[in-house]
Amino acid sequence: MNEPGVIELEGLGVRFGGRPILQGLTASLKGRAIGLLGPNGAGKTTLLNTLLGFHKPAEGRALLHGDDVVSGDPSLRSKIGYMPESDAFIAGMTAVRFVRMMGEVSGLPPEAALERAHETLQYVGLGEARYRTLEGFSLGMKQLAKLAQAIVHAPRILFLDEPTNGLDPPARARMIRLIREIRDSGRAQIVLSSHLLRDVEECCDEVLVLKDGKIAFYGNLEEERRANKKFIHIEMKGDEHAFAAAAEGLGCTCALVGPGRVKLVMPETVAVRDLYRIAAENAYQIRKLDYKRDSLQDIFLKAMEEPRGRL
């Protein structure tokens, strides 16, 4: 029997004013860090907001740790941490009071909330600035303060909406490091929505690509990479037709992509040295041999090209 996912989407659909925004989303998301990708308007933020219970599904349902998100169950909400994309703070408050208050609203007793507010601000790197009011923070500091309020109560699911938006390279690197640390601690599962492929590639082990409100791709990034490890691109001198025929004789699947250029997928039983042996026996020259690994960009672009998605 399949283990239930952290997030279960069962034919989830969301409409605004009769207009479908999300349609028939079905997936079981199990990763430690799940990336939500998609072009602008694909429905990433709507999906995130639906999972947070801000929008009611028009059809289907979404479950977080087995609980329906529309139930409004306070114990479910206590498990959630949310870092919104846009500016979000309480005017006139110091960082430590802001984070403490958010901890208290999440259910921490006042003393514990104060202690954890200090700890969390130290953790995200705002220890020195924790007695300053949030209005005076730079954009990068505000992002870190938003992360601090999202994790102060140690949530089990952490929703991050464009966490590196507007950050300079050092600040972005710090944010990515923090997200990876939280992921690797094993104490929280992360859902990261971003339009930056690099952020998702660096932080996530699963990715869900949305296109026009539908799932265009969902898969495990590491498995995708492993699956494409034996995908080889060769540039050679000699009779590529004969080379391809010999390779197919070994069990490879070949495609001629131009003069002297062959793409092939090797089965597990075939090694690269077998290809060199064929070349040596027939006096062909292999001038270039690339392992082709699908990058997230390839996966994303492929998903965008396919009209009906691959799930």
Partner: protein
């Protein structure tokens, strides 16, 4: 955890009851409110009139104390329903109104302007809990300067006048508390609604002042133009006075019968709740 130990760590301790989470909002709001010296000064001033009224009630039953300071033959007005109505009028309409203008507009508008609502509503706090917390911030402070001192004065009067007076004037205690609570609920909801509509504190303050003052002016204009009294429905203090006259059993001419005025107050409160229900959302959906 020591400050040098920078790791992400779980929380294993107890959690507070869900039903009490809304109380976090007023507690933190009061901390902010009492940072203002202007407000602290005003809040202190709000107790001058209750203290004066307490002294008045005391002297009413201790005229000998006045004689001791050379004030013989002084006759103090009776401590009765008109006395308490006048006292509560100052505390509710004047001081409570000013307090509402100082605090009310800043309750919701900064949260909307700074995108704080998703932070609250993604947590175990409902929109009702949020509204309740914000409303309680203002309602509790107005209560401290209105019905609570009013009730203390009523009990002081009952103590000095004796059991018979208390037994025959229980309705006055109910009028003091009930009248103030009707006013507090109405004005608090109105303040929250204007704060939610305006999104900026200054604009919300102006808006609220406009609703209270210019509502009366506009109502008077309607009365003059159409030769009617319906315009008084736009005048919140007049509407409230109609309800109070009935509660305090005052024989004064009023613009409307008390049930009509009470229905108008319910209408204002209902409209305010409808505005809050529309505006207090984590995200505004553009359809």
């Amino acid at each position: 955890m020591a400050v040098y130990d920078r790791r992400y760590r779980a929380y294993e301790g107890p959690l507070t009851p869900v039903a009490q989470r809304w109380k976090v909002l007023p507690r933190h709001a009061w901390t902010g409110v009492f940072k203002s010296r202007l407000f602290v000064g005003f809040f202190t001033l709000c107790f001058a009139w209750p203290i004066a009224a307490a002294v008045w009630i005391y002297l009413h039953y201790n005229l000998a104390a006045l004689a001791n300071v050379g004030l013989d033959n002084v006759r103090l007005a009776a401590v009765d329903a008109p006395f308490f109505a006048a006292f509560m009028g100052v505390q509710c309409f004047a001081l409570g109104g000013i307090m509402t203008l100082l605090i009310g507009p800043g309750l919701v508008s900064p949260d909307l302007a700074n995108g704080a609502l998703p932070l609250y509503l993604s947590r175990p706090l409902s929109r009702t809990g949020y509204t309740l917390g914000k409303m309680f911030t203002l309602a509790a402070l107005i209560s401290l300067i209105t019905w609570i001192p009013g009730l203390i004065l009523f009990l002081l009067q009952a103590w000095l006048a004796g059991w018979d007076w208390f037994a025959s004037h229980v309705w006055l205690g109910v009028a003091i508390v009930g009248g103030a609570i009707i006013w507090i609920v109405t004005i608090s909801l109105l303040a929250l609604a204007t704060s939610a509509l305006a999104r900026r504190k200054v604009v919300a303050q102006t808006f609220l002042l406009g609703v209270i003052i210019f509502g009366g002016v506009a109502g008077q204009a309607v009365n003059v133009m159409f030769g009617t009294r319906v315009g008084f429905l736009f005048n919140l203090p007049v509407v409230m006075q109609c309800v109070w006259n009935a509660l305090y059993r005052l024989n004064m001419p009023t613009a409307f019968p008390a049930p009509v005025a009470f229905a108008a107050l319910l209408g204002i409160s209902g409209l305010s709740i409808a505005i809050l229900a529309k505006k207090l959302r984590a995200f505004e959906v553009v359809k």
